[in-house]
Subunit: 182 residues, 2 copies
């Protein structure tokens, strides 16, 4: 088991890493350690190398995202309910772990697989939305899927003061109705 102060430092490093790596993927481990308020060697003791640190940050984000996907009940719940519950859950996750998961695509095969599994659940959700008529039949599923992700990231990072419920409303409304006049 991990000692309490060590666990605090660990999460501080992961959060600092997620934050700094989101701003600049080339951020040094020294900068991350400093932002987390620990010595550089402490980070090196916990993580064998830079790759292991990045991997841990990605795992932390994937863990949080997976909980949201589970709780949203994307398959069973009524579609509008599931959508809103997913959005309201994933927006805080995106804010807590702002690091872009596309960074890990090359490095970490295990995390990549896990990310694809989560992505597949959202793909299925989009297909369900098409089948049930919530999205127009002529809409391309890949396009809808991509826009959903982009809207989430945008509201999460570029509008950080918008509370999750209102942010979820905004994303859902924009996705379904757009911004144009009737």
């Amino acid at each position: 088991m991990l000692r309490a102060d060590a666990a605090r430092n660990l999460t501080a490093v992961l959060h600092a890493g997620a934050r700094l790596l989101a701003e600049d993927p080339g951020t040094s481990m020294a900068a991350i350690a400093s932002a987390a308020g620990v010595d550089r060697t402490t980070v090196h003791r916990r993580f064998a190398n830079r790759e292991a640190l990045l991997s841990a940050v990605f795992q932390a984000k994937l863990d949080s995202a997976e909980r949201v996907l589970d709780q949203a009940r994307l398959v069973e719940a009524p579609l509008p309910v599931a959508l809103h519950r997913y959005l309201e859950g994933i927006i805080p996750v995106s804010r807590e772990w702002p690091v872009d998961t596309r960074l890990m695509m090359q490095q970490d095969p295990a995390a990549r697989v896990r990310r694809q599994e989560q992505s597949a659940r959202l793909d299925a959700f989009i297909r369900r939305a098409l089948d049930e008529g919530y999205l127009r039949a002529d809409v391309d599923a890949a396009w809808a899927r991509t826009i959903l992700d982009e809207l989430v990231d945008t509201v999460a990072h570029r509008f950080p003061d918008l509370e999750p419920p209102r942010a979820a409303d905004l994303v859902a409304a924009t996705l379904l109705n757009g911004l144009g006049a009737a």
Copy 2:
């Protein structure tokens, strides 16, 4: 004046830089030189340092974007026409220079100012769309502005096979009407 082969090499380096830096902002100058088919020292002779190379890549993108903004006639042309002309022009620019201009925010003050000037022209265009009733009155201008950029980047990079006219249609339709059923 620049010798013809030198000019070819220069544009090759700028394009290779834009492409590789878009994938990985930490790409080395050696990798860029190699992708451009020239020696590393050739790049160093043309650009005093890494920052100067990045700056040149950004300038190239800003030059192309500025031409598009001018030709779109965002102020004078009827709004739907201007929107479509802008989209059809900016999507190829985004593809030719896929590098993210947010990377330069810290480094290059001159480019940053220029980027803000172009951004202001699009802000004004969004305000005009609101004033003329093409966007719903309750739509936040900053949100609309951000979504416009995101849709352009997404269609440009994630759907590279979509021809500019159809890509522009898709972006405009998604922006105005969303993806939901009526």
